[in-house]
């Protein structure tokens, strides 16, 4: 029964026809949701057929869990295990491979961090993204990892324009509102509280808790824009593109604090340029590969955590080793639970008996991400093909070109196409996501892209679709600075939590910060000596 469950994960192959009858192959990835759903309905806990003891167990090999493993490894604590449900590590930073190019399955870039983010700088140094230091000691980033120009373009009224925001035929009031919007965001970037903390910082926990700014969390970003008189169709679209892209949420579903954070936190000062962006063909999968290689054989995939029960001086983790089809009980002295909240809620035993109030507070946006393998670049009118290609007014977020960073401008390529399902009712959106078959998704994608790329269909070789039922937690109004989120991050005895869900913002910086901090908390509890990367 359990072995059959585990077999439900992974990709399922599909073959179908485009609306004009072209035969295309592909797959649907993300089958683990079926597994999760059946796990939810699983009755009693099976008896373990194997027992093991280990100092530390890490649950979940997303960026947070892998960062915890990385921290242990750097500190010399090598006796740990990482349990991952899927057949590959990475969580929402997973990547795929194909004959043309590797490609991201979700998270696909990292903004250049400030030097003060030592953990991220250290990781980037390890993956070779930093080639040296400038005379002032600041990291110098490898040219082929910084996004290559042309970086981004937008399709608007039949033509591609440079940048994210089309300025063609813009009304003077619209232009003025955009200008004021930018000025406001720049001003926020410079604001600090009495203790010198930035109003909006990354990772989020460094931001000032001063109600002058956290009060904005009660408001939606849409309401804040309205209140500030920042109106106009272009500005609303632009701002909502940002919230959909980073948070999977509309203007009304996003807290004003989060909406402002998106812009202000990425500006070092009011006068600086927005942070450069680092990327790889496989997106943040490059970081995953590196972290996974450091974890080595201690990383176990297809490992389904079924139960986590705190004991006196230890934690019992019962999990299914799907590769062998046996149930294992791992007794760990400490646990880093780097699972998303909705999964943690199902396996932490004390929460089963008395569910804490905060468990129901996290709202997830489902996403559809598709990788389109093309035999050639499609023709387009106006500004040339960029890394990031956005369609004005589309429900999708457009596509990112996986081969862009490899340097080629001709021939076969892979487009990674993003579509957040931003309905107000995420449960219904999730049902729709999973009920929509592969062929229908393909038709929707082609329908969306066709207006910008007539003739795209004839270039399509494969369409691989990933259905993310719980892609990211929404920073809805009141959530980020509310009681629930603060409560939910508190350790449970020897269980330390790490996940972007605990920030309410699914950003790479947050994932790493949680992983490193949870691991350091464990290291401290064990009396280890190490140099902290986060304090």
């Amino acid at each position: 029964m359990l072995a059959a469950l585990a077999g439900a994960a992974g990709a399922s192959a599909c073959v179908g026809r485009t609306p004009s009858g072209r035969r295309v192959a592909g797959s649907i990835v993300g089958g683990a949701h079926a597994l999760g759903h059946r796990l939810r309905d699983l009755g009693s806990l099976p008896l373990p057929s194997r027992r093991e003891e280990i100092p530390v167990a890490i649950l979940g090999a997303g960026l947070a869990g892998l960062s915890a493993a990385w921290t242990f490894e750097r500190a010399g604590l090598r006796d740990f295990t990482v349990l991952e449900l899927e057949d590959a590590p990475g969580g929402t930073a997973r990547f795929g491979t194909g004959p043309v190019s590797p490609y991201p399955w979700a998270a696909h870039y990292v903004p250049v961090p400030p030097s003060s983010n030592r953990a991220l700088v250290a990781l980037l140094e390890e993956v070779g993204a930093i080639t040296g230091r400038d005379p002032a000691g600041a990291p110098v980033y490898a040219e082929d990892v910084l996004v290559r120009e042309p970086e981004e373009r937008v399709f608007f009224r039949g033509e591609w324009y440079e940048g994210l925001l089309p300025r063609a035929g813009i009304e003077p009031e619209d232009a003025e509102a955009l200008h004021r919007f930018e000025a406001r965001m720049r001003a926020f970037a410079g604001e600090r509280d009495a203790a010198g903390r930035r109003a909006f910082d990354l990772p989020r926990r460094r931001s000032s808790p001063d109600p002058r700014w956290t009060g904005l969390d009660a408001l939606s970003f849409g309401d804040w824009l309205e209140r500030e008189g920042l109106r106009g169709e272009r500005l609303r679209w632009f701002a909502e593109y940002g919230t959909r892209d980073d948070f999977g949420a509309t203007l009304a579903q996003t807290s004003a604090w989060a909406g402002i954070h998106y812009y202000a936190a990425r500006l070092a000062t009011p006068d600086s340029e927005s942070a450069d962006v680092l990327t790889w063909p496989e997106g943040n999968g490059r970081l995953v590969s590196h972290l996974a290689s450091r974890a080595g054989v201690r990383l176990r995939t297809r490992a389904l955590v079924l139960d986590v029960t705190p004991r006196e001086g230890s934690v019992d983790v019962t999990w299914l080793d799907a590769a062998l089809g046996e149930t294992v009980l791992t007794r760990a002295e400490h646990v880093v639970c780097a699972l998303p909240r909705f999964l943690a809620a199902r396996v932490i035993a004390p929460w089963q008996e008395r569910p804490p109030a905060f468990l129901g507070e996290t709202v997830y946006t489902p996403w559809m991400v598709a990788n389109l393998t093309l035999s050639d670049r499609p023709r387009s009118h106006g500004y040339p093909l960029c890394w990031d290609n956005v369609l004005y007014g589309s429900p999708s977020l457009g596509y990112v070109v996986a081969t862009h960073q490899s340097g080629g401008d001709h021939g076969a390529t892979v487009f990674t196409y993003y579509w957040p399902l931003v309905d107000d009712d995420p449960r219904r959106a999730r049902e729709e996501l999973l009920a929509t078959n592969w062929e229908t998704w393909m038709a929707r994608i082609l329908g969306d892209l066709r207006r910008a790329h007539p003739g795209l269909e004839s270039l399509i070789e494969r369409v691989d679709v990933y259905l993310w039922g719980h892609a990211m937690a929404r920073p809805r109004p009141g959530f980020l600075w509310g009681e629930a989120l603060r409560e939910s991050a508190r350790p449970l005895g020897r269980i330390h939590f790490a996940h972007t869900d605990l920030s309410g913002m699914a950003l790479c910086e947050e994932a790493q910060d949680w992983g490193v901090r949870a691991a350091e908390a464990v290291l401290r509890a064990r009396g280890a000596t190490f140099t902290s990367l986060v304090s």
Binding site: E143, D144, V147, E149, P150, D276, G407, H410
Partner: protein, 501 residues
């Protein structure tokens, strides 16, 4: 009515009809490429339009002969002028080309589709139906055979597309005029018709007389000299023009060289580096698909191996096979020492592992991001790693130091940022103007003083040394380093050339 003469008419109009179709298909393949698609869609559109024409013939009730003659004049004018019209459309509004193409094909197809039903109706009372259908259709198909054989063998090679289409139009109009006598009994008063026919003939005669001028006004007219070769490849449009003894090569409308003075450019690109390293044995050329830089390299007996990396296989094939080019580059690309690689140079540099003594970088100017990336610090850093660590040198064409001075110094600065020791230089190439290069060494090196060969046309000791002297109007300007993630050079280049155009 003499029916054999009517069959002759049918034969001529059938020939003309198919030729218009072939002209449209050929011209579309010629400017758009992908001949399979162009011919399929043109033939499809044409045949279906003929169907529409046949169907519309049912609505013509009276004056069939009169209508038939008018259809002849109309098809003569529209079909005859279709080639110059399409060329002009492509030159003036390339975006609308397909619209004009299929519009013309549709109209001509409808008119041609009217012809045979009208002829059948004209003869239906004179000839028994079974014989009528048999003969008219047989002659019609025979005309198609004539057209399809004569078009590629005689018409296009001897006359070109414009003259072919105008001449066949004229023939069509003459036949129309002739049929006013042929169908005299069926026509009321032929005076008006004959006047119309005369006008059509006059217009087409004039068009034929001026067909050279019409050709010039078309895309071919974008070039100063007669076009002798064109090809749209996946990557670019290659055009060759010819004047007297000289010819020119254009890529995407930009002059790459004129055979009159290219030796000045290619000697300047290649020979200074050899003057510094006469013993170089392993040489790399990036770009330079015309084989002219290769010709200069192969003059040196010490060269054992030459790798030439050019994106476009059509370009290197042309350099190898085209008589004019092959003669100019002295068959360089067929030399056993030469290995041609058709790949994006940036991608090639990322995976190549061998070392070279000398490299020559000969790309078109940085007027797009996909060319600008080949002038970035990342590109030069990759190139530097492929050069001998002590003696390695790279010569880079770096646009005009006079007309695009900041661009020129930007390339210089970018090479320095990638670790090259750079000596900029220049040469006068009349077709281009004052032209710039950068000689970069992996290690410091002396300015070359004496060419390694005595047989050069533009360079001896003093003139070689003079290349490295830049006047004050070409002196350094501050410029940012051109990086993959800023591509400042494309911006500099656009700004500077805009001032001169």
């Amino acid at each position: 009515m003499r029916t054999p003469a009517v069959y002759l008419t049918v034969l001529v109009i059938a020939t003309c009809g198919l030729v218009y179709e072939l002209v449209a298909g050929t011209l579309a393949s010629y400017v758009l490429g992908d001949s399979v698609t162009q011919f399929s869609t043109v033939i499809g559109a044409y045949l279906s339009a003929m169907g529409i024409g046949s169907w519309l013939s049912g609505y013509l009730q009276r004056g069939i002969a009169f209508r038939f003659v008018q259809v002849e004049f109309a098809v003569a004018l529209i079909g005859g002028l279709s080639a110059p019209a399409l060329f002009l459309a492509f030159g003036a509004a390339p975006d609308l080309f397909r619209l004009v193409l299929y519009g013309l094909v549709l109209v001509i197809g409808i008119l041609v589709g009217l012809e045979i039903p009208l002829v059948l109706r004209l003869l239906k009372d004179v000839v028994e139906f079974k014989d009528l259908v048999a003969r008219v259709l047989a002659v019609d198909y025979l005309g198609a055979l004539f057209a399809s054989v004569l078009f590629p063998i005689v018409m296009v090679p001897e006359l070109g597309l414009v003259r072919t289409s105008v001449l066949l139009g004229l023939l069509n109009a003459v036949v129309g005029l002739w049929s006013t006598w042929l169908f005299r009994p069926l026509l009321g008063s032929p005076g008006l018709l004959r006047a119309q026919g005369a006008v059509a003939c006059a217009i087409l005669t004039a068009a034929f007389a001026y067909s050279d001028r019409l050709t010039e006004l078309s895309e071919e007219g974008l070039y100063a000299d007669p076009v002798v070769y064109t090809k749209s490849t996946r990557y670019q449009r290659i055009v060759m023009t010819r004047t007297g003894h000289h010819f020119q090569l254009f890529l995407n409308g930009q002059l790459q060289f004129s055979s009159a003075d290219e030796y000045r450019y290619h000697e300047a690109l290649v020979q200074p580096a050899f003057a510094a390293r006469p013993q170089a044995g392993r040489v790399l050329i990036l770009g330079g698909g015309d084989g002219l830089a290769a010709r200069e390299v192969l003059k040196h007996a010490g060269v054992r191996e030459l790798v030439l990396v050019d994106l476009d296989p059509e370009m290197t094939r042309l350099a190898k096979d085209n008589v004019m080019l092959r003669e100019l580059n002295a068959g360089a690309l067929s030399d056993p020492r030469v290995q041609v690689v058709n790949e994006d140079a940036l991608i090639w540099l990322q995976h190549e592992r061998s070392l070279f003594d000398l490299a020559f970088v000969d790309f078109p100017d940085p007027h797009s991001h996909s060319l600008g990336k080949l002038y970035t610090s990342h590109f030069y850093a990759l190139l530097r790693r492929r050069l001998d660590p002590e003696l390695g040198l790279a010569a880079v064409q770096s646009t005009s130091p006079l007309l695009a001075r900041r661009s020129f110094w930007c390339i210089n600065r970018t090479m320095e940022a990638a670790g090259f020791f750079v000596r900029p230089y220049h040469a006068l190439v009349p077709s281009f103007g004052e032209w710039g290069f950068a000689l970069g060494g992996v290690s410091p090196f002396e300015t070359p003083a004496e060419p390694a060969l005595a047989s050069l046309r533009s360079l001896d000791g003093p003139s070689l040394r003079a290349l490295f002297v830049l006047g004050p109007d070409m002196g350094p300007l501050p410029a940012e380093v051109n990086r993959l993630n800023n591509q400042v050079l494309v911006r500099y280049y656009e700004e500077e050339w805009r001032r001169w155009n």
